[in-house]
């Protein structure tokens, strides 16, 4: 039974279409992971085959080779308007952040440059509530300050699918069309729709990537799941959090909140 997936899909398409209609200059952040692949797929559904805005990869140069290969292949096959934004080096990051968090912050800075140079008013990001507790507090349309900060203590009212789509000059909005999906939903949907997946998600020698990030701060987890079906079976029973392999989440109690407040995805 996949009727529940139809509902999730419809809701995401609704959000994508709202964003495309209401926000003048939009971009989509593509991390090449399973979630943003599904997001791209949903864009093609929403806009009848075509992704009508630039697709941006925030590149730290630290992704695994399989990721770059996948990026280039899919960008060509799907005729994407791919923009690769090089992130500034780690030395330029806030040095009070714990070291691994600091490495992750490079993407925040890359994003800031992108927004500034491209004058984007909205960026779509494939985050989900079930990934992480501060993401669970997110809005679908999540406004950022002039500096790109997230004011988590004063978020806008958002109800009945009416989103905040008006902003002060110079600020931008994060749009989260997958907020209501779970990790398991994404896999079930990827299977149903036959969405291409970076092979790193499938187990090799007893390990697989469950969440895909830069090679210096992301680690594969123990698993024997070599197919989508096996991944789905694994997720139904696992009690290990999805981002357990993401070092910066767990560096200190507040490290991820700090990262996100400062503008991380």
């Amino acid at each position: 039974m996949t009727a529940d997936l139809d509902y999730l899909e419809s809701q995401s398409i609704y959000i994508l279409r709202e964003a495309y209609n209401r926000i003048d200059k939009l971009a989509l952040l593509w991390s090449i992971g399973k979630d943003s692949n599904a997001l791209l797929w949903l864009c093609r559904k929403a806009f009848f085959g075509r992704v009508p805005f630039p697709v941006v990869q925030l590149d730290t140069g630290m992704e695994l080779p399989e990721v770059y290969q996948f990026r280039d292949r899919v960008a060509k096959e799907w005729d994407l308007d791919l923009v690769v934004e090089q992130c500034p080096p780690e030395e330029e990051m806030d040095q009070t952040l714990p070291p691994l968090t600091r490495a992750a912050a490079r993407k925040t800075e890359g994003l800031k440059n992108l927004l500034h140079n491209g004058k984007y008013q909205g960026v779509m990001v494939g985050i989900r509530r079930d990934e992480q507790a501060t993401r669970a507090k997110e809005r679908v349309f999540s406004p950022r300050s002039l500096e790109g900060d997230w004011d988590v203590k004063d978020q806008p009212a958002e109800f009945w699918d009416h989103y905040k789509t008006r902003f002060e000059e110079g600020t931008h909005v994060r749009i989260h069309p997958l907020l209501h999906w779970t990790e398991l939903d994404i896999w079930r949907y990827s299977k149903r729709e036959e969405i291409p997946i970076v092979p790193l998600y499938f187990a090799k020698d007893g390990k697989r990537y469950r969440s895909l990030g830069e090679k210096n701060i992301t680690f594969p987890v123990d698993s024997t799941a070599g197919t989508i079906d096996e991944i789905i079976a694994e997720l139904v029973v696992t009690k290990i959090p999805e981002r357990a392999g993401r070092a910066m989440d767990n560096e200190s109690e507040d490290s991820f909140e700090r990262l996100r407040s400062a503008g991380y995805m």
């Binding site: 039974m1 009727a3 529940d4 139809d6 509902y7 899909e9 419809s10 809701q11 398409i13 609704y14 279409r17 709202e18 495309y20 209609n21 093609r44 559904k45 929403a46 806009f47 009848f48 085959g49 075509r50 509530r129 079930d130 507790a133 501060t134 669970a136 507090k137 809005r139 988590v152 203590k153 978020q155 806008p156 009212a157 958002e158 109800f159 009945w160 009416h162 905040k164 008006r166 902003f167 002060e168 779970t182 729709e193 009690k239 290990i240 959090p241 109690e253 507040d254 909140e257």
Partner: protein
């Protein structure tokens, strides 16, 4: 497709109630006791609690922000997934503090059902009631109550029953009948997943039982079709109208009518991408795109429906509203009302009542303050296609936007169809009829002709009236005798013929304004009976003469511009009242004696007259 799979359909439950009554604790404990917490979570919560020098705090499972943990309070709503043997759930935590009501609304609006948490010792407090009321407005009809912290009242059955009775009575007045009222101690896990032995007198359901007893919401597929447009795409030679079906079903071959335009066309195809077979039908909950047989004018905000069962189209809407921002809603203010994807500029015509959350009594008011609930009448310039919330909730509700922000929400409770805009009987070739303009503005256009001596108070009254009506959202403008002489009538002097021409021009201009739907306040001495008769002939039945009377002596002592003095000194020739005649009107529509009335009384009289003559009651009588 179904909105939700009804077999293993996920249910979304919001936890609401007064601050500190134990909502987050309940969720933390629920997750723990159903084995839903990820590995390591309990240890983390131990560490967080220890670090802050407090006993183990279950609420920290949900309260993820540093500020929330440090202050021991939920700030923003959050969601978490968990499963029972019966089905998957999304549990939505909502903050109880009055400061964060907008976050509570954000969370609760997404729920199918609610658990209302009430502290056994404190009973139903202000936010317990407010949340209950808002659930009702948000359309969350399935509610169960938990009376928490029973450990603090020694699991006293009588205390439980007193709290239970009080909340049941309150909910009953909202037409909400809780599926269960359950005594629990969230912190200790009593009656959450397992039955507590501390309350042997209780034999009702546990929290888990109550959750599993909620019913999934029905997909509104059997209701009238509502397909509001989000956008129109032209990916190739197709022209695709995109949107989500909010209720009902749609099939290829259906004839659609669009509101508020009334355009009709037939569905040629339902478009999709990566579908193996053509789509021939779609239903509520689906985001779709359709192509039509005709290139009609249809855009974002228009609602497609079938010929039968159309939505209402109105310029005047009675709503029940909740207000979320510190700047109060007041009569006369203009906001954006957004219903599905349509936006309308609306003016607050009246606030019929503000509802007291404590006892549900209503009182008329001038303003709606933050967190209040009220009955309000909104007036729109553009026609609004809308349903009554009681009939079709999804197209019968909307948000109020002020500037950049959503500042309130409302549901439609009364629709004023107004004078039928379709009975276009005027011979003017305008595409917009006079009636439509009036209906859009909420008042008639017309000419209020203020005549009287210099110094009688015409200009003062005219400007005060303009202000007052403008503040109520009226289309109003003053044509002042002195002001028009600088432009429209520059070059005219004070000879009898120039004075006549002066008045004729003002009368013609006023008429155009009136045709455009504006209430024109013409403020001119207009001393001669004959000239005013001509103005009346130009203005027709929309012309209303107001005699602003004050005797010459009074005007002369007021002499605001020092003109009488000059006239007496012979410096101004042909000055009305001194060296030229003033012919008082014989049968004016209204006389205002500024010699005896205070300025505010004079304004009051004038306002009353304007209201009954040009206001909405006059519209109701259909005498346009």
């Amino acid at each position: 497709m179904e909105i939700r799979n009804e077999l293993n359909g996920q249910l979304r439950i919001v936890i609401v109630g007064h601050v500190d009554h134990g909502k987050s604790t309940l969720i933390g404990r629920l997750l723990n006791d159903t084995g839903s917490l990820p590995d390591g979570k309990v240890e983390q919560v131990h560490e967080m609690s220890r670090k802050r020098g407090m006993p183990f705090e279950w609420a920290f499972v949900m309260d993820a922000l540093q500020a929330e943990r440090d202050q021991g309070i939920t700030i923003d709503t959050t969601q978490i997934h968990f499963k029972t043997a019966q089905r998957p759930y999304v549990i939505i935590d909502a903050p109880g503090h009055t400061e964060f009501l907008k976050n509570m609304v954000t969370g609760a609006s997404q729920a199918d059902a609610a658990l209302l948490v009430i502290d056994a010792a404190e009973g139903a407090l202000e936010q317990s009631r407010r949340h209950a009321f808002l659930l009702h407005l948000l359309g969350v009809r399935q509610v169960a109550v938990v009376v928490n912290k029973m450990d603090r009242v020694e699991f006293d059955q009588y205390r439980f029953e007193a709290v239970s009775r009080e909340i049941r009575e309150y909910l009953a007045e909202l037409d909400v009948f809780p599926k269960a009222v359950i005594p629990i101690a969230a912190r200790h896990g009593d009656n959450i997943v397992t039955r507590s032995d501390k309350a042997p007198w209780y034999d009702g359901p546990t929290v888990i039982d109550a959750l599993d007893a909620f019913r999934p919401q029905q997909t509104p597929t059997d209701q009238p079709l509502r397909f509001p447009l989000q956008d129109v795409y032209k990916p190739d030679d197709r022209r695709i109208l995109a949107g989500r079906i909010e209720s009902g079903r749609l099939r290829v071959g259906d004839t659609l009518r669009f509101s508020p335009t009334g355009a009709t066309a037939t569905v040629v195809s339902i478009e999709g991408w990566n579908h193996s077979q053509p789509i021939i039908a779609a239903q509520a909950g689906q985001s779709i795109g359709v192509t039509l047989d005709k290139r009609i004018f249809a855009e974002r905000g228009h609602i497609a429906h079938l010929e039968q069962g159309a939505p209402h189209v109105t310029h005047r809407l009675g709503v029940r509203l909740f207000w979320l921002t510190s700047e109060p809603l007041t009569v006369g203010k203009t906001y954006t009302l957004k219903i599905t994807t349509a936006e309308h500029r609306v003016t607050v015509e009246s606030i019929s009542a503000v509802i007291d959350i404590e006892d549900l009594s209503s009182t008329p008011a001038k303003a709606v303050h933050r967190n209040e609930v009220a009955e309000v009448v909104l007036r729109s310039r553009s026609p609004i296609a809308v349903d009554l919330a009681s009939e079709l909730p999804r197209t019968g509700r909307g948000v109020i936007i002020d500037g950049h922000d959503v500042v309130g929400g409302c549901i439609a409770v009364e629709v004023d169809e107004g004078p039928a805009a379709s009975t276009n009987t005027t011979e003017v070739s305008h595409a917009v009829t006079t009636e439509e303009r009036f209906s859009a503005n909420g008042h008639k256009g017309g000419v209020l002709w203020l005549t009287g001596l210099s110094g009688a108070g015409k200009s003062t009254l005219a400007m005060a009236l303009e202000r007052a009506l403008f503040d109520r959202g009226w289309q109003v403008f003053v044509l002042d005798g002195d002001n028009v002489r600088n432009g429209l009538n520059a070059g005219l002097g004070f000879s009898a013929s120039d004075r006549a021409e002066n008045i004729r021009r003002v009368a013609e201009t006023a008429k155009l304004f009136a045709d455009a739907g504006v209430l024109v306040i013409a403020s001119l001495i207009s001393p001669l009976q004959a000239d005013r008769a001509r103005a009346r002939a130009i203005g027709g039945e929309r012309f209303h003469e107001v005699y602003v009377s004050a005797d010459l002596a009074t005007c002369e002592t007021r002499d605001p511009k020092g003109l009488y003095k000059k006239a007496r000194a012979g410096e101004i020739a042909e000055f009305t009242g001194i060296s030229a005649p003033y012919e008082a009107p014989e049968s004016p529509e209204l006389t205002i004696d500024t010699g005896t009335l205070a300025p505010t009384e004079a304004l009051g009289e004038l306002l009353d007259y304007v209201d009954t003559t040009f206001g909405k009651t006059s519209l109701k009588q259909g005498r346009l």
